[in-house]
């Protein structure tokens, strides 16, 4: 079950001088229990890369096979095809508008995403804390949020668009409505999980509901909130794409939707890859943010 040769972390040199963190004697060549066998940096890079490599190879293989049968197959274009289509979008100004389509799309989409997720995060923070911390607010809002959570927003699209128009507001609202309820519930759950002792203690120190929220709940919930945002970004992209598919003139989702009818996978796949890249960068930034804001939640020595 274990990849052989990966347990090689015991091969550290035994020259470590005084004060170094490494043991000064070579460690025994023991085979640790699976859950204790740590992975070196290089090993992690290698292992983490494997699944991507596998997918890439599978794609190349399938694409080559399809293209061999039908050279103008659109479903699985070859990497050069995708690259040239992507480059076109990124560097060749659009004939009609003179814009560099990729960048215009990216800018528009990121703005919407930021606004939508921002609103949702704010709602999660304020409502989540209120619901989790104040029993009356919980009694008041939790049933409603629970129900709203399961209403598929896409089914109510017509009402949403008619109430809010087809502009940016509706799109941002769709994203916010799409991701906020889950976030609110999650944060509320976490607030309810705060140790009762800490809350009691804060009260004996003179904390009132408001100052406890500021000084106890907010900082303790922060790392979770960031995790929450990280988990919400996936659905947020989904709603963004859905919103842009209905009414807009630019945006990553709009472009994908537009070319989907023609099965232009040579545009769709690079766009999806680009979205993925953007999302991964966001995710990484959020992890950094969490470490910066809540160092206590990320001890230096992880288990």
């Amino acid at each position: 079950m274990l990849a052989r040769g990966m347990g090689a972390r015991d091969e550290v040199s035994d020259t470590g001088g005084e004060g170094t963190m490494r043991p000064s004697l070579p460690r025994p060549r023991v085979r640790l229990r699976m859950i204790n066998a740590k992975v070196s940096r290089g090993g992690a890079l290698f292992l983490g890369g494997l699944p991507f490599l596998f997918v890439a190879i599978a794609y190349l293989f399938a694409s080559a096979q399809r293209l061999a049968v039908n050279p103008s197959d659109k479903l699985l274009p070859s990497p050069p095809q995708m690259w040239s289509a992507f480059l076109d979008l990124a560097t060749v100004p659009d004939k009609r508008s003179g814009d560099l389509i990729l960048w215009v799309d990216t800018y528009a989409s990121l703005l919407r995403l930021l606004a939508g997720v921002g609103v949702a995060t704010f709602a999660a923070l304020s409502l989540g804390i209120a619901i989790g911390f104040i029993p009356r607010v919980r009694a008041f809002l939790l049933p409603f949020v629970t129900v709203v959570c399961v209403i598929p927003p896409l089914a109510l699209l017509p009402i949403l668009f008619i109430a809010l128009g087809l502009g940016e507001t509706a799109k941002i609202t769709l994203i916010a409505l799409g991701v906020a309820p889950v976030m609110v519930r999650d944060i509320a759950n976490r607030v309810m999980e705060l140790p009762a002792e800490l809350v009691a203690k804060a009260q004996t120190l003179g904390g009132n509901s408001w100052t406890m929220i500021l000084r106890l709940v907010l900082p303790q919930i922060m790392p979770r909130l960031i995790t929450c945002v990280r988990l919400a970004l996936g659905p947020a992209w989904l709603f963004l794409i859905a919103a842009e598919a209905i009414a807009s003139t630019e945006g990553l989702g709009y472009r994908i939707f537009l070319v989907r009818r023609y099965l232009s996978m040579d545009v769709i796949l690079p766009y999806v890859a680009w979205i993925t890249l953007l999302a991964v960068i966001t995710d990484w930034l959020l992890v950094r943010l969490s470490r910066a804001i809540s160092p206590w939640a990320h001890p230096l020595e992880a288990r």
Partner: protein, 269 residues
């Protein structure tokens, strides 16, 4: 003002009765030491006095009227399982006290007041021997250090009633003695009422003005949790009784002799 009156207190969890017919009156400024077998309900009693839990029946009067059934700054607590705020360093944990006390809209004090608070916190940190750990988060503190931090935090709150649940259990004898001094000092200074649970009979006698023993008087071997514990012994200490090893031995013998599933006779260590 910080008088405590408990009358006919009873506490049940579902079917299990933990405390029953507990009656005790403590005048302001008294120092009550609570001893009793493990699991007999001492922490539960403290939690009720704190307002974190509510009695099942009976009256609890704190100060001028019935107890406010929620924790207030009037009553301070040190929990048995030391609890400090994990997201704050040792220093910040202490500064938080003044921040909370101010009750301001930002939950934080500024300017001169903050500088004062910082000085006070520094002094307190030094007194509990944590000056060098000022900037460590609780996760990096040893058990005893966390406990000292929790005590320091509670003392900084200057409650009228101080509830201590085995506060010194995780401390080495040296530091324990220092903490005894610190507590005695603050107690004489501020005249607060103290209720302390301890398993160290010596400590109970050394610090308290009164020693209370919790124990079960009724007993159902078939269903051990049918009856709860109550106060079986209430000893007022003056300078003479405090020193009397007779009383000490008596209390020591009482503690731990009525465990529900007792199988052998025990003596105090």
């Amino acid at each position: 003002m910080s008088r405590i009156v408990v009358h006919g207190l009873e506490k049940t969890y579902g079917d299990a009765r933990v405390l029953e017919r507990v009656n005790v009156t403590a005048e302001a400024g008294e120092f009550l030491s609570l001893v009793g077998a493990s699991g007999c309900g001492k922490s539960t009693f403290l939690r009720i006095l704190l307002g974190q839990e509510q009695q099942s029946s009976g009256v609890v009067i704190v100060g001028d009227g019935p107890i406010v059934p929620e924790p207030t700054p009037q009553r301070g607590i040190v929990f048995q399982r030391y609890s400090v705020f994990p997201h704050l360093t040792a220093m910040q944990n202490l500064l938080l006290v003044e921040d909370f006390r101010s009750g301001g809209p930002f939950g934080r004090v500024f300017g001169a007041r903050r500088r004062n608070a910082r000085q006070e916190a520094e002094a307190m940190l030094a007194r509990v021997g944590l000056a060098h750990a000022r900037d460590l988060y609780p996760a990096s503190l040893s058990g005893g250090m966390q406990q000292r931090l929790a005590i320091a935090q509670t003392l900084l709150g200057r409650p009228q009633i101080l509830l201590l649940d085995e506060p010194f259990g995780a401390l080495d004898p040296g530091i324990r003695a220092e903490m005894h001094d610190l507590l005695t000092e603050l107690w004489t200074e501020h005249g607060m009422t103290v209720v302390m649970v301890t398993h160290d009979i010596g400590e109970a006698f050394k610090l308290g003005t009164r020693v209370l023993v919790f124990d079960k008087v009724r007993h159902d071997p078939q269903f051990p949790s049918a009856y709860g514990a109550t106060i079986t012994y209430d000893l007022r200490l003056d300078r003479k009784t405090r020193a009397s090893s007779h009383h000490l031995a008596k209390v020591a013998a009482m503690v731990g002799t009525t465990r529900p599933d007792k199988t052998m006779a025990t003596t105090a260590s």
